[in-house]
């Protein structure tokens, strides 16, 4: 069975249709990259999955997670799924953490919401999670503004994977980072995906990221899906002109100065 199944998802604002009947699926343990330029609606799709859409936007269609429709779910059920089955990593690492709470407190609150385990167990989980992204226990006592961008984003990954969710939605997790940090973040995500077996829905505007890490690639433009398929198929034999132009826009060595 598919882990996530999006059927004919349409997102409607007051006057215009932002997303036009899109459908895609994510299988357990798979890495799906949604690629598109700014404004293509790729982030909107992930907001709809977490029911984070602004109140003036209306979503129609079906979003099935393990067979149950998120769009028809009560707030309480939704809260049980959020965080436990679906976890998010956001682009804006600077604001991803509540500024007046220490990192440790975020871990504590997150676990207390979903787990019924002892404090020692929670602390041990936290230590393991921080260690898995290469951060020491001392980071737990720090406030978010005391961490660098890369450290924050690694903490966000540790937090997202803390409860071993089946699906991690990474919404442009590396866009605000420099290229070395983003390389490390993606390497880390890839390693942790292999370790925990979670599926990843990776939103990016950078086809290089999709090319290097994803199993499946989906190309979006102006709220519609242009093309989707295996990574190799998209990278080597793009069908759509837009995909071809995206591929051509990838800078490669040897072009500089021409």
């Amino acid at each position: 069975m598919n882990l996530l199944e999006v059927n004919e998802l349409t997102i409607q604002a007051a006057t215009q249709q932002i997303m036009k009947r899109i459908s895609f699926t994510v299988e357990p343990g798979n890495w799906l990259a949604i690629v598109g330029q700014s404004g293509s609606g790729k982030s909107m799709a992930t907001s709809a999955i977490g029911q984070l859409l602004a109140p003036n936007l209306k979503a129609d269609g079906e979003i099935l997670i393990n067979g149950s429709n998120l769009l028809k779910m009560t707030a309480k059920k939704m809260n049980a799924i959020r965080g436990k089955q679906i976890a998010y990593i956001f682009q804006e690492y600077q604001n991803s953490f509540t500024p007046f709470m220490t990192i440790g407190k975020h871990f504590e609150e997150y676990q207390r919401t979903h787990l019924q385990v002892s404090k020692t167990q929670r602390l041990q989980n936290r230590r393991q999670a921080l260690a898995s992204v290469g951060l020491g226990e001392e980071f737990a006592d720090r406030y978010p503004f005391q961490l660098s961008g890369g450290q924050l984003q690694r903490t966000a990954i540790a937090l997202a994977l803390l409860l071993k969710p089946a699906l991690v939605i990474a919404d442009e997790p590396t866009t605000a980072l420099d290229s070395i940090s983003s390389f490390r973040i993606l390497q880390l995500l890839e390693r942790l995906q292999k370790e925990t077996g979670c599926a990843i829905l990776h939103i990016t505007h950078d086809l290089r990221h999709a090319a290097n890490y994803a199993d499946q690639v989906l190309v979006m433009k102006e709220g519609s899906i242009l093309e989707q398929g295996d990574r190799l198929q998209i990278m080597e034999f793009p069908q759509h002109a837009y995909t071809k132009s995206l591929l051509e826009a990838i800078p490669s060595f040897g072009q500089a100065g021409e």
Partner: protein, 279 residues
């Protein structure tokens, strides 16, 4: 030692000032209650308008009542009433502002239009009108003050919340499965508490002035209550012969307003975690 002094001078002058003021007030209060056993309402026409003495450190008023005793009992009244009015205003304004800011949409519009309607009236005028309609008396005056003050809190809190609700950490808390109530309590509330405390401590001064000024024109505390504004009012006819009768309640008002303003600044600094942690 020199370093310590520097530190005190640089960082804690507000705390130092507060401590000094509290010690001064505490000393005077102790003197009143240890050595003077006057009844604040005890009329003694034989010793009316007497100047300062050991028995009457602040002198006596036009009815021979001890001014110092009245000032200190008045503190209970004036400051106590101001606290009550303030607490009620915050208790009403806080949930309204929080919900309006967090929920947005139609709820926000309705709540904020109501608040706007209240805001359209100037404080003093509304307080005077309400006291006039319901009759003079401190209870009605307090109601009037709550009536005009809660709007400030609702608006301040709403604007802070609106500022924060779009940030990613709220979305993060949401996708981590926290309920709206939890998010408001744990992730938004601490943001506004600092602002609210600062506004409240500034407001405390204003409310004391409002109570005193309305008591001064006879709408607030009724005689023989030792309210500071009412005392100022009583002292008016003796202003030229006995100016100290107006100076003492005036100084009392100034002191409390000052204390509340300085503590407001101090609290705001304390609530800022960034200042607390060495970067």
């Amino acid at each position: 030692m020199a370093v310590l002094k520097m530190k005190i001078r640089k960082r804690n002058w507000k705390a130092g000032m507060l401590v000094t003021l509290f010690i001064l007030v505490g000393f005077l209060a102790a003197y009143t209650f240890l050595f003077l056993k006057h009844d604040a309402d005890m009329v003694d026409l034989n010793s009316r308008l007497s100047p300062m003495s050991l028995l009457h450190p602040f002198g006596t008023d036009h009815l021979g009542r001890d001014v110092m005793t009245r000032i200190f009992l008045g503190a209970q009244q004036t400051v106590g009433y101001a606290f009550m009015a303030l607490a009620a205003a915050v208790v009403i304004g806080l949930p309204i502002g929080l919900v309006a800011g967090y929920k947005g949409g139609i709820i926000e519009r309705i709540l904020m239009r109501i608040a706007d309607a209240f805001l359209a009236f100037p404080d003093t005028i509304v307080a005077i009108v309400l006291s006039g309609l319901m009759g003079p008396g401190i209870e009605n005056l307090l109601l009037a003050i709550v009536f005009v003050k809660w709007v400030n809190y609702a608006r301040l809190i709403r604007s802070t919340v609106v500022n924060e609700r779009g940030k990613e950490y709220i979305a993060m808390a949401k996708v981590n499965g926290l309920s709206d109530g939890q998010i408001m309590r744990k992730h938004i509330f601490p943001h506004i508490i600092g602002n609210v405390l600062v506004l409240a401590s500034l407001d405390l001064g204003k409310i004391i002035l409002l109570i005193s000024s309305l008591s001064y024109i006879g709408l607030g505390a009724q005689p023989p209550a030792p309210e500071w504004g009412a005392m100022l009012n009583d002292a008016r006819p003796y202003f030229q012969s006995m100016p100290s009768l107006m100076i003492y309640p005036g100084l009392a008002i100034v002191t409390v307003v000052l204390i509340s303003n300085v503590s407001g600044d101090y609290l705001r600094d304390k609530f800022d975690v960034k200042k607390e942690v060495q970067l």
